[in-house]
Amino acid sequence: MLEFLFKYPGTVFSKGNLVLLGGWPVWLLLLLIVGGALALGWPVWKQRDRTVGRAKGFRLAVLWLLQCGMLALLLLLLWQPAVSVSSLKPQQNIVAVMVDDSRSMGLQEEGKTRKDQVLGALNSGLLEQLGKKFQVRMYRFSGALDRVEKLEEITAQGNASRLGENLSQVATESATLPVGAIVMFSDGADNTGGVDLETVNLLKRQRIPVHTVGVGREKFNKDLEITDVQMAPRVLADSRLSALVTLKQRGLKDQKARLSVKSGTSTLASQDVVLKADGTLQAETVVFNAGTAGLKNISVSADVLPGEENPNNNSVARVVNVEGRKPRILYIEGEPKWEFKFIRRAVEEDRTLQLATMLRTTQNKIYRQGINAPAELETGFPAKVDELFAYQGIIIGGVEAGYFTAAQMELIKQFVDRRGGGVLFLAGRGGLGEGGWGKSAAADFLPVSLPDKKGTFHRDPAYVELTQAGRESLICRLDENAEKNTERWKKLPYLADYQEAGTPKPGAVVLVDAAPTSKGKYPLLVTQNYGRGRVGVMATQGTWRWQMTQPLADKSHEMFWQQLLRWLVQDTPGHVLASTPKSVLADEQKVLLRADVRDRNYLPMTDAKVVANIIGPAGTAEQVQMGPDPLTPGTFTAEWRAEKPGAYVAEILAKKGEEETGRDVLNFRREDGVAENFGAEQNRELLEKLASETGGKYYKVNDLSKLPEEISYSEAGITVRETKDLWNMPAVFLAILLMRGAEWLLRRRWGVV
């Protein structure tokens, strides 16, 4: 209907420019319109206070406006309006028809695969119509782009869609070919990063419109999908690890699904979840023990529910490097106390952590335990960078701030900020506010603003209360089941003492509160990140009662301290910290390697020589030079392609001259045939956006009748400029009739002759 009224398809108007062919100047048109309006308005103005017939004021103005509109339209027609639009020269341009050949196109919908829907559309005259106007080049695309001669070559067996890469390749080819437009058939299900801005800009620069044809259902009837799993890529042996699982479901609201975490064939943890509203992303946390040191291939899966249309999107894989290193923690305590003994005992049961302690037994004597050599800590708390930075964490018990020299205090700060270590402050007669820490140089990096008063340490009973953040934190997980964990915390015996820790700073997280039996509630365990490291406050020295007053078999005390201290040191980096954005390359080859390289004092090292020695499947080995990132001193990066599916180990080595300054190991795995299982619903939003950004249009696969006509209007390829008259549009005559008819009717109604 609209096309009848306006004579041309909408594309002509959206792509064309309005021109006036009359030759007379535009200002004259405007002048005549204004002059005419004034001339018509003068008699109306004169009679503004009089009643003409039954019309006065507003009614007269309406009649005047109709007359003006009529006059303006007639004058415009005299100037001969037209649309100037570029269109492709027949038979001189290429239209690239790209068909998604990935496995998601093989999904069955209403008895037909998506691929068959596409082939059906192409065979039912579309190709023929396109062929009459253009040279048609057929491509299939998935992981790579291939030109095909016959539609039979499209098999829906490819691993990933890679819309961006393949579009970019077609656009690059068009630099030497007159590609006038791209028609892309796809479900838009791209799990390799979508269409990047660079590709869109390339298409825009070359003015190639991408007309997208959406295939596949936009919403499944019944499906459960794990859309993402986040977990730490590296963890200390025997640590608890959390998998943050994001789920999406259709048609299964309120049903129960079982999430499982497996390493190989052994199940590490499982839990039931109730599915939330359709289409919403639901986050669930599954906690499990990472087990012994070694590379772990972890899979997180949801059991397939009855009637699921796509059972292949219920499992996601990740690689976790369970590290065998044993971080060392320096614990300085100001006076003998039971907490000291029981913390030591908790750590002794941990095969991973090492504790070196120095205890002030008398005013002038320090008792050392857990030292590696007689000279370690012999002269007291370390005063040199290399001595202190040899540890991964520090615990400062009830020691007054004044016990440390200004240089030592600065070292402690740098230990967190620069070295990336963890510092934990404990309560005590000489701890926190009582020890003057609130007014020390350390006040900057404490997670709390300590109270500016004395008498904050109380040897009175206090129960513990887990906060919401504490319920979610691995530090406080005494049971892998979240509900049982909360119950367990409620049953913990009271603490022997507590200390008022003040107010948590913005950015700090309170995990546990102390609720004294006498009064109030105070933050007990508060953590925050500072610089590259982390700082915590544990405002009690009385958790030893958890050990002494609970049955021997209860491991709450040991578990809590082991987990708190693992948090303290787990992320403390070495001189080289290697990372990659993705540990599992799902149908991808490109790996970005990154290394943060520091010198012996943990200052960014810009003059290092950094290489990655990569060992791949079947023993393939390659050495990759990593280059410095100009924007981030000390950071080195390299991009590399994992040519074969399988497991890869990259050992990243930093040297200064011939001297090695540090190394780190990184693991990743390439998996093929995975990505297409996910995001299999038609991503209409992506297809529409791609079309609109490039000047194309989105079509449904079963409604392509206008495509051959609309595709002609393009500024790419070999074009011709067409001028299309507008004066003879039916809409113009309709407008004239409507305006005159309306005026006539109103005059009759209002008695204005």
Binding site: P336, L359, T361, T362, Q547, M548, L552
Partner: protein, 267 residues
């Protein structure tokens, strides 16, 4: 024959007179044990460490004078109070100025991870108490036993202790063990006598001629029970201020006691 009888009567009379004198002197020391020592002004201060004395059922309860109020009360409370003064002065341990008494009938003992047992050669723990003591020690509690002497009292001590830990031997603590070095280096230890030395002139009692520094270890090589056999550290603490009690014994007793506390707070 008459002469012989007269000598025997004389000897007997002398023995009786001596024993009576000794008993009276002992009574005077004992009465000092029981003396109503006023509480120090800071007795209610809340501290980290409290000297906890174990109240236990006595073997042959009531048969001996000391058992009249229980063997566990020997030297109580003077020894405890004098000892903690030393702990306060010589270390950074935040110490309560008065002792507390705990037993194995309630769970209160679990609030005191260091417990002292005097006259352990006279205890007789019922089954339930041996189980509780075992649990206490395995959770992390520390027990110091003192002031029992000779084979006979050793056998009584081990009769109960072997029911606490049927599977763990009582062994000599080696010189190199941390318990003898945690604060003071105690490589040269000697027998610390009780006040009986004033009358007998000997540093030992019964057949307990040689001081034994023994212990029971846990699976991680930590001492749970420190057994001070054939010595009387409690008396040394109690009479450290007595002009007749040699300083060297008192000093060693204090050092051992403080080492044992710090060991219990660090291991």
């Amino acid at each position: 024959m008459l002469v012989r009888k007269a000598v025997m009567v004389l000897v007997g009379a002398m023995t009786l007179i001596s024993a009576s004198y000794a008993f009276q002197r002992a009574r005077s020391f004992f009465e000092e044990d029981e003396a109503n020592i006023p509480l120090p002004p800071d007795a209610n201060e809340k501290t980290e460490y409290t000297f906890a004395r174990l109240r236990y059922p006595s073997f042959r309860g009531g048969a001996a004078y000391w058992s009249a109020r229980g063997n566990w009360t020997v030297d109580y409370p003077k020894a405890d109070r004098q000892f903690v003064q030393g702990v306060r002065r010589l270390s950074r341990i935040h110490t309560k100025s008065v002792e507390t008494v705990v037993d194995l009938e309630t769970d209160e003992i679990f609030n005191y991870p260091w417990v002292y047992v005097v006259e352990a050669g006279h205890w007789d723990l019922p089954e339930a108490q041996t189980k509780k003591l075992r649990e206490y020690l395995l959770r992390g509690g520390f027990l110091m036993t003192d002031d029992f002497h000779g084979t006979f009292e050793w056998d009584i001590f081990t009769a109960s202790m072997s029911r606490v830990f049927p599977d763990r031997p009582i062994v000599d603590i080696e010189n190199k063990d941390a318990i003898f070095h945690v604060l003071y280096d105690l490589d040269e230890r000697f027998q610390v006598p009780g006040i009986i030395m004033f009358y007998s002139g000997r540093t030992y009692e019964y057949d307990g001629i040689e001081a034994k520094w023994r212990g029971i270890y846990d699976d991680n090589g930590r001492i749970m029970v420190a057994v001070c056999h054939n010595m009387d550290l409690g008396d040394a603490w109690e009479w450290a201020d007595h002009p007749r009690y040699p300083e060297r014994y008192a000093s060693l007793a204090y050092r051992v006691g403080i080492n044992y506390i710090i060991y219990a707070m660090t291991h």
